[in-house]
């Protein structure tokens, strides 16, 4: 008798357990759980470069003067509208009415000036201080108007003003933003369990609150690809916009519960060569490497076919794109001949690879391709901190593989010999200066096409492929961007049906 009682007690306890765990039913349709691979250590996009801060908070919790849509076009945000002076140097922004910070303090032109002055200050730790470099001064005209004067024309100025590094913050709350962020956006901070999840809730006082479908957003941090896959399959999460493992996609494609989207990012994956160092200061060696690599084989092997090849340093989805993948077509015999001509045939080169799957997998294939062309490439897998220090800062490398995920980053090649490319070319720097000063879209795109061709001809790096945006969504989740022209993903338009 007693044992039967005990047993039914266990059964009741088990039932209670199940009931206690059954998912939060009442929120269906208005709550979403989004999986993310990278967990930030701070929540302040104006003081930390971690991309997932932008992915979660930019244009969701924080807002900037402008925003950007999926196509990369600039739209108004905290600035309702703006005018640009004849000489292209003075921008006058009209600010929206009725925006308030989540702590109840009002938003006005003083907050804009405060945010810019803080980012531009000498002791500022803004991770993208370069975005503010063209700015001469920020002036409050009246509570609803701000005037920004530039030192030189900047074609990317309005686009840059949409980024998370340029989020508008309030002097009253800025100090605590790293753990308790306060912005003006359609979602506000609820809680952050470090190592587990970040929760945002809808801001009912937002000026566009009526058009926001989600009441609650949970970001769950899952770094392991197999665990991410299991969490999706067990329906613990609704969306994984940056799914880390292309090899695991077929099971989701075959499952009617899910939708798989392959889009593009701003990430150009390159086989970077140290242009400042022999033998890569010899264009023949760089051309030989370019001929030796077979992009199709790399994409199939490293990305399971889920990527678009590139022939220069510009995303294929951009308006100025030119297909230059044929500049140095895969040709092992030609590569061999060029290596011999340059006197490096049979030598050993190191390929130092950061710990990202796209890089480590590509490295093995490139190693084999270089071997066919008579070069012994030694692959060294290094840790990220090591990569930043040795390769990025000290240029202590022959070759490496890395994705450049910032938009409009062809200016990297104009950063001089101290930048880790070791590339120093006055002709290109001049071209880039013309691009950044060109306000007319058509004219700028023509110059951008010229720049792509310039870099491809110079064979500065081995240009491999554009990093894809692989998204896995539960059927019924709508509104995520397929491709990302920026690091953020606005959730105001996302819904769960």
């Amino acid at each position: 008798m007693s044992s039967r009682l005990a047993r039914s007690g266990v059964a009741i306890a088990a039932l209670a357990l199940c009931a206690a765990l059954s998912p939060t039913g009442g929120w269906a349709g208005t709550t979403i759980v989004i999986g993310l691979q990278q967990e930030p250590t701070s929540l302040d996009p104006t003081a930390d470069a971690t991309a997932s801060i932008d992915g979660m908070l930019t244009q969701n919790l924080f807002e900037s003067l402008t925003t950007v849509n999926e196509a990369g076009e600039v739209l108004p945000q905290l600035a309702e509208s703006w005018t640009v002076s004849e000489d292209g140097l003075t921008y006058t922004f009209d600010l929206v009415d009725g925006a308030t910070f989540h702590d109840g303090t009002g938003f006005d032109a003083e907050d804009v000036k405060f945010s810019f002055d803080r980012a531009m200050a000498e002791d500022s730790v803004n991770p993208s201080k370069g975005l503010f470099k063209p700015i001469e001064s920020v002036t409050v005209v009246d509570a609803g108007t701000v005037e920004i004067k530039l030192k030189q024309k900047d074609a990317f100025f309005l686009f840059n003003m949409a980024q998370g590094d340029v989020s508008i913050v309030a002097p009253e709350s800025v100090e605590a933003n790293n753990a308790n962020p306060v912005g003006t956006g359609p979602f506000k901070y609820d809680s952050w369990t470090r190592g587990d999840k970040l929760v945002l809730v809808k801001n009912p006082d937002h000026r566009d609150a009526a058009s926001v479908a989600l009441e609650r957003v949970e970001f769950k941090f899952i770094s392991d690809a197999a665990a991410a896959s299991a969490a999706l399959l067990a329906e613990e999460i609704d969306a994984f916009p940056g799914f880390p493992a292309p090899e695991l996609l077929p099971q989701f494609e075959a499952d009617p519960r899910f939708k798989v989207v392959t889009g593009s990012t701003e990430g150009e994956v390159i086989l970077a060569m140290n242009n400042a160092k022999a033998p890569f200061n010899d264009i023949r060696v760089r051309q030989a490497v370019s001929h030796a690599i077979d992009r199709g084989e790399i994409i199939d092997g490293a990305m399971y076919g889920q990527a678009v090849p590139i022939g220069s340093f510009y995303p294929p989805h951009g308006p100025a794109y030119v297909d230059l993948t044929g500049t140095y077509p895969h040709d092992t015999a030609k590569a061999k001949a060029l290596f011999e001509e340059a006197g490096v045939a049979g030598t050993t080169m190191t390929l130092r690879v950061p710990p990202f799957p796209y890089a480590t997998r590509s490295a093995e294939i490139i190693q084999a391709q270089l071997a066919e062309a008579g070069i012994d490439a030694k692959v060294e897998n290094v840790e990220w901190g090591f990569w930043i220090d040795e390769i990025y800062k000290k240029l202590n490398y022959d070759m490496t593989i890395i994705a450049h995920t910032s938009p409009n980053d062809m200016g990297n090649f104009a950063r001089g010999p101290k930048y880790f490319y070791g590339y120093d070319d006055a002709g290109y720097t001049d071209l880039w200066n013309r691009i950044s000063a060109e306000a007319d879209d058509a004219a700028r795109n023509a110059l951008l096409a010229e720049a792509q061709k310039y870099l491809a001809d110079q064979a500065v790096h081995g240009f491999l492929f554009q990093l894809p945006q692989l998204g896995v969504y539960k059927t019924g989740v709508e509104g995520f961007w397929d491709s990302r022209a920026v690091l953020f993903q606005p959730l105001a338009g996302v819904s769960v049906n």
Partner: protein, 314 residues
Amino acid sequence: MGYFLFRRTISFVLTLLAVSVVVFAVMNILPGDPALSILGLDATEDALAALREELGLNEPVLSRYLHWIAGAVQGDFGISQSFRVPVSELIAERLPLTVSLAISGMVVTVILAVALGVAAAANHGKAGDWGIMFLSQLGIAVPAFWLSILLVLLFAVKLRWLPPGGFPGWSEPAAAVRSLILPTVALALVQSAVLARVTRSSALEVMRLDYIRTARAMGFSRRRVLWRHVLPNALIPIVTIVGLQFAALVTGTIVIENVFYLPGLGRLIFQSIANRDLPTVQALVMLFAAIVVTANFIVDLLYLAIDPRLKARS
């Protein structure tokens, strides 16, 4: 006994001191820069310089170390360079999970291993023994992370009995227990495979001794002889291995926490090393070292308890 404790305490303090010097040295020699890992690749030189100043990275290494030690002695482990909150706060948030996991893993390991090991010894040379030995060989060969993935696929994805990962916190006890079941099993299976083999061979050795034969001859049941006479005398090697395994379990949580995305100390140390967050790494390694040293200390005390000869000698 008093002398024993005194000697132990001194070696405990010296061990931690040595560990702190090694961690500080290694983290300083390792290439990497906390300022760069926070501000990223587009950071300008002046922003990096400002952040280094803010984080106190411009001070000489020795003065930073002495500063740290002075704080640590008073229980102040400093501010995390990447999270910008006190390290003690970060550890306090995560400790309950890792401790729960290590303890539940240990308990399951010991129960499973002792039961299987004794059963194998009792059935020495028979099918049961072979079966258990085969399974434990398999358990030793299987990596914990792979086993974890299999467990998740079966119990979370296919059968939907348990969550695939995550930890809701002890404020929801039922859900918390459920979410710890798979990680505990993944941790314990591999460890208990090792321990079961040790238990078996230790028990077999004791069973060959004369007094066991005498006990059987006196008519005690097999079961009684096994649990009352064999096991207590076979305990010393078992306890030694358990002590070593506790250290392995605590470090094993690093892998398990990643696979089950649990917010524990293992993930924290992983992230902190990547970010070159010296104060956090320092405190965590010290904590792990303290746990291991304490576990060894407890093992020594247990020797005293299970081996009366030692007590007589001391």
